[in-house]
């Protein structure tokens, strides 16, 4: 019984650690700002880099994590985006196709 309990605790702790690691680990298939698809969508990996003269529709508070096309959770540093065929975008990023998460 004790062993079972110990194992459960170890597994649970391990899951928490690996879950944290997954959330923090950057995806290997990240969209780069220089990708043709990124340029076409005006994507930047950090909202601080938005050219607001070119994209006046940007408003404070908009970022990939708050977009309906972002397939991650609030904890994810990056996650697949439906606008890029599933390639990952930065949660701190933005593009001209931004649509508020419903």
């Amino acid at each position: 019984m004790l062993n079972k309990r110990r194992n459960f605790i170890l597994v649970a702790a391990g899951s928490l650690v690996s879950g944290f690691a997954i959330a923090q680990k950057p995806s290997q298939n990240l969209v780069l700002d220089s990708d043709p698809s990124a340029i076409a969508l005006g994507y930047v990996s950090d909202v601080k880099k938005i050219d607001t003269n070119k994209f006046p529709q940007y408003a404070l508070g908009q970022n990939c994590a708050a977009c309906t096309l972002f397939q991650g959770t609030a904890k994810d540093a990056d996650a697949p985006c439906l606008a890029f065929g599933g390639k990952a975008v930065s949660a701190k990023g933005w593009c001209s196709a931004w649509v508020k998460k419903g």
């Binding site: 698809s37 076409a40 969508l41 529709q57 309906t68 890029f84 599933g86 390639k87 001209s96 196709a97």
Partner: protein, 335 residues
């Protein structure tokens, strides 16, 4: 009047000026583009704003030796590549009739090794309806129904097309062709130019076309009338079941001097054509679901070894597609 407001008014005014405006370099806001699509073509919640009546299928692609010699892209490896295929009837209406001389579409998602994808939106005409996003916006605006009559103003359309005759080329082509007998019996063109990089780093531009292995097949006007408005889905299911739906992925090779930045202009007749491989469709969704539902077929997503041309209409398709997908997700996405 402050400068930003003046600029905004100028921008709006420019957006709806017919003619010379087509050459404007002012970026088109993708949200405005989707709004204009809805204003002109109607809004059908959950459905794609273009190609709303569609069906999802799956298949596989096997690249050819010629494809491997042309490009290092993994899609041409010769190994089977899974493909999601969406066939659709042109337009925003999910109840569009199948027996008219309108556009058919074949959109593709190649799932490649190492997380790569290749997305395409191919159409049953060798040319796109507009050369630039600005021209597309103006074209849509010219065709927007008048609130009083609920119909487009013919004078506005004539003024626009007189000043932009190239926008008529696609419609003229479709009108010259018979109603397709099947989604599987019509050619689908990529319409934009792309470059392909070979193992030595040499780039070759070209425009592609997917051509049915068993040839094209059209209906006479009488046959089209008899078929009615809903035959394409069942026809596709039957043909796929019998193993007869396959397309040659062919590339017309551009030569120096060919126009590569305008999707209303095909490559000149007689350009050498090579076969990049064969796409076989192997199954069709039994219902209105399938793997296509949230794929936006952004034509700017492509594998290493394939690059876009500087055609402004090509890059301009990406953002409105994504905006429209976002709206569909909010509304409850439908096929």
């Amino acid at each position: 009047m402050n400068i930003p407001l003046l600029s905004a008014i100028t921008l709006i005014g420019t957006s709806f000026t017919v003619g010379a405006f087509a050459q404007s370099q002012i970026p088109v806001n993708p949200v405005s583009m989707v709004n204009q699509f809805e204003a002109t073509n109607g809004k059908f919640e959950g459905y794609r704003r273009s190609g709303a009546k569609g069906i999802c299928a799956t298949g596989e692609f096997i690249g050819s030796p010629e494809g491997r010699a042309l490009s290092v892209a993994s899609v041409f490896s010769g190994k089977p590549i899974p493909v999601v295929v969406r066939f659709s009837v042109g337009g925003a209406n999910p109840k569009a009739a199948d027996n008219t001389k309108s556009q058919r579409n074949m959109s593709l998602q190649f799932t490649l090794p190492n997380g790569e994808q290749w997305l395409m939106g191919n159409i049953s005409a060798p040319v796109f309806g507009s050369a630039t996003p600005q021209q597309l916006m103006a074209s849509l605006a010219a065709r927007q129904p008048d609130p009083a009559t609920k119909a487009p103003d013919p004078a506005k359309i004539k003024a626009f097309t007189d000043a932009n005759p190239e926008v008529l080329l696609q419609g003229k082509y479709l009108a010259s062709q018979p109603v397709p007998a099947s989604f599987s019996s019509v050619n689908y063109w990529g319409v934009h130019a792309f470059s392909f990089t070979n193992p030595s780093g040499v780039k070759q531009f070209g425009k592609w076309v997917f051509e049915p292995v068993n040839g094209t097949q059209g209906l006479s006007d009488e046959e089209a009338k008899e078929k009615g408005g809903n035959f394409l889905f069942d026809d596709l299911r039957q043909r796929v079941k019998s193993g007869k739906v396959a397309f040659n992925f062919n590339l017309e090779l551009a030569q120096p001097g060919d126009k590569l930045d305008d999707a209303t202009v095909p490559l000149p007749e007689g350009r050498k054509k090579i076969n990049l491989g064969v796409l076989k469709v192997t199954s069709v969704s039994d219902d209105d679901k399938g793997a296509c539902l949230t794929v936006n077929f952004n034509p700017m997503v492509m594998p290493k070894g394939v690059e876009p041309s500087n055609d402004p209409m090509l890059s301009a398709r990406a953002a409105p597609y994504a905006v429209a997908l976002g709206r569909r997700l909010s509304e409850g996405a439908k096929q």
